[in-house]
Each structure stands twice: as C-alpha cells, then as structure tokens.
Symmetry: C2
Subunit: 233 residues, 2 copies
C-alpha cells in the first residue's frame, strides 16, 4: 500500500470476492499485485474505505473499479480484524461477496483501474493459489457462505445469463455444492418451486438438440416465498 494514510492505526478496508460462472467452472476475480507488501501475489480486489464513504458504497466502488459494472449483486458476509492480518499496521476489512454474469460478457475486467494491480484474472475456485494477506481465509469463508446460501436463496440466477437452460442451472448447483445431482429430480424440484418462466425460445449455436430457455421470475418468486425457499439438499 503506497502512501499509508495518516490514521493508519485504525484503518478499515473492503475486500470483495467476485464470483463468476463460465464454461462449467466457478471462478473468482483476482488481481495480481505490483507493490509491496505481497508484490506479485494474487489478492482479492479491495481497498481502503474513504473517511466519508459508507462501507457499502466503498464495496460498490471497488466492484466498479474491478469490473466496470454497476448494480452488481453483492452481500456483506464477514469482517476480519485479527491483529496481524496486515503486515504494516492495523487494518480491519469488511468482506463482501458479489456475483456477476460472465457468460456472454467475457471481457469483464480485463484491466482493473486500481493502481496497485498489474492485471486481473478469473481464477477457477479449483485452482485457487495462496493469496496475499489473509485473503485465502476470506475466500474460503465466502465460499462456505454461498454454498450454504444457494440452497435457500435464489442467488444462482445472479451468476447465469438472463436466459439459461435447466442444464446450466443444474451444473452451477453441482459446482457450488460439489456433488452430482440427479437430472430428473433436480428439474422436478426446481420447476415445482414455480419461480422460473419458460420462454418460447431455445438455445442457439449448439451442435446438438437445443434446450429450452428459462428466466428467473422475480414476481413469481416474491409471490411464492415470503422469505426463503429450500433448494437442493
């Protein structure tokens, strides 16, 4: 971190775990640092919160700087404040996870506008390297959270294109939950929730039978569930 702000002894920052789903893989956006500490290491996008900035606003700013997108789905999940977590002083960090639609949008975040980053990469969660600071821990906690959450809240749709096939949806659940699901049972259950809208449209550009496309239907969802549901177990 180049110029340490004045009140470095009680600083806070925001770190974002940005998830994307592409080619059947769950990925997160990492930046490669080009400054000490942890020069050359991969890290989560994040930065200090400005003195007159709400935490949530700071998170949105960081998401915009790293992806060029606004209005991304985002949720705070934990605050990390162990004493030694930052080698240069006392920094507590509020962590958010976010989800963006990668498919058909692949060029999201080729170069973040943040200064201390050489480049940004989409890294599959399967190949996650050791990260700078305590970011590995932050990543693991975020992953646990979404694993849990995807079973009772409709967050999966934040990762898929607006129009998706049931197979894509199932693959996403399989990757996140890290287990195979039965096709018939998955479809039966998902459709029974009555939160999807079946479109009069099919997949294009595939060299086999095209699948029907579906949309997540917010109205139906709101109608059918006051608060929760319980997807895949």
């Amino acid at each position: 971190m180049e110029n340490l702000p004045e009140h470095f002894d009680s600083l806070f920052s925001v770190d974002c775990v940005i998830f994307g789903f592409d080619e059947g893989e769950l990925k997160i956006l990492l930046i490669e640092r080009n400054e000490a500490p942890f020069d050359g290491w991969f890290a989560l996008p994040g930065y200090f919160v400005e003195p007159t900035e709400a935490i949530e606003t700071a998170a949105q700013r960081i998401l915009f700087e790293s992806t060029g997108l606004k209005g991304i789905f985002m949720e705070q999940f934990y605050t990390f404040g162990a004493l030694g977590r930052h080698p240069q002083g006392r920094v507590i960090t509020v962590a958010y996870y976010a989800m963006i639609r990668l498919t058909g949008n692949k060029e999201v975040a080729p170069l973040p506008t943040t200064h201390f980053a050489k480049r940004a990469v989409w890294m599959s969660v399967k190949d996650m390297p050791e990260l700078a600071f305590d970011h590995s821990r932050i990543f693991r906690k975020s992953f646990e959270k979404i694993k849990n959450k995807i079973s009772y809240q409709p967050i999966a749709f934040e990762l898929l294109p607006e129009k998706f096939t049931l197979t894509q949806l199932q693959q996403l659940y399989e990757v996140v939950l890290n287990k195979k699901l039965d096709k018939r049972n998955f479809r039966k259950k998902m459709l029974a929730y009555d939160i999807l809208k079946e479109l009069d449209e099919k997949q294009k550009g595939v060299s086999y039978r095209a699948a029907k496309l579906y949309k997540f239907d917010k109205r139906k969802y709101a109608k059918n569930f006051q608060k929760e549901l319980s997807f895949t177990r």
Copy 2:
C-alpha cells in the same frame, strides 16, 4: 462518548446483542446510557476497539464487562457502517450476538463495569424499546440470524442450563421461531438426532410430576453431524 479518541474519523467499535432465556421469555441485555449522545436511552453493550486489540478480543472484553462471564458463546454477524449512524463522527461497528445461561444465574449483569451506563436490564424481545444509535436495526438483524440459525445449528443449548427438560427446550424453540410446535413431533425429532444425553435425574422443586433432565452431548453431536443438522422447520 466522553473523550473522543484522536482518530475519530476512522474509529471502530463492537456492539453485542446478548441473549438470555428465562421464565419462558427470550431477553437481551441492554444498558441505560447516562451520557450524551442518547443520554437516558437504552443501548446495546458496546465500545471502541483498542488500537492493539483484535475485534474478537474486544467483543469478549465487552461481554465480560457487561456480564462478568468469560467463555461465552459468541458469533460475529454483521458490520454496520452507514455514514450517519453515529452523530459525532465516523464509527463503524462490528456486531456480535452472544448467548448466556440465565436460569439459575439470574444475577448475571446487575451492574456492568462500563462507565457510560447507568444500569443494565434484561429486556424481553417482545418489549424492546427504540434503542440508541442504529441499535434497533442491529438487534433486529441479530434476531433474524438466530431465528435462522437455531434451525440448523445447536445454539439453543447455549441458552439453557446445562441440564434441561425437553419442555424447556421446546419452549425455547417456540419463542425464537415464534410458533407453537407439536410436543410429540418435537420430541421424536429431537431425540432422533441423537445429540442429547438422557440423565438419571429429574427436575426438582416443581409442584407437579418432575420431568427427566437431558444434557447436550457434544461428542454425539460431532459424531452424527459433520457440520449441520436441520432442526425444526
């Protein structure tokens, strides 16, 4: 807050929602402030985090100061950092909920050692007044969290005496979930989890048939559940 610390523009604090269960009621520990701002208002126990103190340690300290107890069950659940939340400047606060065994321990926290508090009271969640700062919001969020959590993690036992009856356990679930449960089904399900140890002992001092006492059995729990279970729905 009497003497504003020097770096008031980036301060952080910890606030604790301390739950107790007594006489069939779920209560939280509030302090009555005797200083501006919010002089005379009820608030959550909380204070600034020291510059060389981990957040978690600060939470433990506040719990000890308010209750005289150590080793309390405690979990961080959210960080509040809206710009206007503290009338005197920028303070973000990391919130924890905690649970203590009130029954048979009623004299917990008659007088907290924190300076800015007139007194502490156990307030039923049904009678919660408007609280200082954004503490009402913090309380509501904590309540949502434990409502949710009690259905899949064994946190209820943190609120009960070590030896408890199934009826007490059921009452606690009923209060937290805010709905009546069927006695036979509740017992069947709870016993089926096989996480309780039935004691050779009965309730004492009641003027009716005494109930069997049970203990939460951590070993059984660990054996039967790698991570989760799914209590009452």
